[in-house]
Symmetry: C2
Subunit: 261 residues, 2 copies
């Protein structure tokens, strides 16, 4: 009842995603090879999306790329719907206090999207950092968000994970992942034990509403050469304070003015 296949619009967005996933401009024929749609159908989608500015077309090279209209829309999305503007000052502070890299992430269907990041050393962060995606089943932020998902939604998301073995601590089955999710719910926080990249570890906490819906997650990342899980665990209280502050601000944020009526 959710994923892909809502009529024409769903299909068009699938095409849009495909173009985006190339990460470079693409020929029509390349898209066709990778697409489930017949030539004429794909052609019309690409035309429509280009007309709409969701794709841009370079007539000199005959190539399509994601369009600038997306940049405009994303500006709105980032400002209105992401936690980034609210969280900004809080994660600045957190990153300064703990002296490690802080990530702010949200869930997009079955994937993790990093919406902001603070690097202890280099306090500047860039647009190009926001929007990066990662797998949900083997990142700290991913797992803590999954842990607090209500059951019907969780089942759907778990079914979509690829369970690719990145390292030898990566979860490779839904069963083992579910086991850890229970632990996370019990503790209120979770770790990445080099599950995605060797040498990289993190602690993560969810950002929840008063009604316990998942808004996003925070993590503090480090390396095994600098610290260990126990070291990261000692930061949990500090991180929780930030998560709660963000949650509290998010609750009052929406709908600044309620004039008229």
């Amino acid at each position: 009842m959710s994923a892909s296949g809502d009529g024409t619009v769903g299909k068009a967005l699938e095409v849009l995603d495909q173009v985006a996933s190339f990460g470079r401009p693409v020929r029509f024929s390349e898209l066709l090879d990778a697409s489930p749609f017949p030539k004429a159908t794909l052609y019309r989608f690409v035309q429509t999306l280009t007309n709409q500015g969701m794709l841009s077309f370079d007539p000199d090279r005959g190539m399509y790329a994601p369009g600038v209209r997306l940049v405009r829309l994303a500006h709105a999305a980032w400002q209105t719907a992401s936690l980034a503007p609210i969280a900004q000052s809080h994660i600045d502070q957190l990153s300064a206090d703990v002296g490690e890299t802080v990530h702010l992430a949200q869930l997009d269907t079955a994937q993790v999207i990093y919406v902001d990041k603070r690097n202890a050393a280099e306090p500047v962060q860039m647009y190009s950092q926001s929007g990066k995606v990662g797998p949900a089943y083997c990142t700290g932020v991913g797992k803590v968000m999954l842990a607090y998902l209500p059951d019907p939604a969780l089942a759907e998301v778990l079914a979509q994970q690829s369970y690719h073995r990145f390292t030898d601590t990566t979860h490779t089955s839904e069963a083992s992942l579910r086991g850890e999710l229970a632990d996370i719910r019990a503790n209120g926080y979770g770790f990445d034990r080099e599950e995605h990249e060797p040498g990289i570890i993190c602690v993560a906490l969810p950002i929840l509403t008063e009604t316990n819906r998942v808004l996003g997650a925070l993590s503090v990342t480090s390396t095994t050469t600098r610290t260990n899980l126990a070291g990261l665990e000692s930061l949990v209280d500090r991180i929780r304070a930030t998560a709660q502050a963000i949650s509290k601000e998010a609750a009052s944020w929406h709908f600044p003015v309620n004039a008229n009526t």
Copy 2:
């Protein structure tokens, strides 16, 4: 043959734009009031877009906002289709050299989208800056891009401008704007003579391909208290060098590898 109204997909994207334009989460009924679509139709669009992650829905408050999937797509758009990654180092340099604010913009249908910005004083730039929009007919970057548009496209875009009088130098008719566009083509650069905001002036140059298609525009902005049009005009050669460097890099950028076949 272009703007709005390509079938169902076009309508759905219109709805998406509408949600984004509120700049805050919206109730369904608010959208309905501002929408040309009947209740059931709008309802289905909103459902589909939410399913697809293009909108997010807050069930506690019954409100819709742009969804995080847009952030992911925009990341791809910004990286692949915008000039920002290519231009980065060039505009850093330009901004440092001239000691003024530099804007990098592209055209989205009839609007200007700022894809990057350098503030002389504060060298950091943020995601939240990228994606901002402005009118094409009364900004330096907008006018120089219009000036190099091929005629059928230009006519369409000019028809869509609102010609709102922001200040008393603002163009208020297509005719007067067309007059200036001819001058810009003759000179190769254009000004903003406090047309959008009093006290704010700029010089702008287009970024063109070898075939003279418009890729984007660069501008250097200042205030009437600090300099004047002649002062800005003296920067033209320096800015042109940057515009050409970006154009050259853009030409070789696309399609890094061309393996197989």
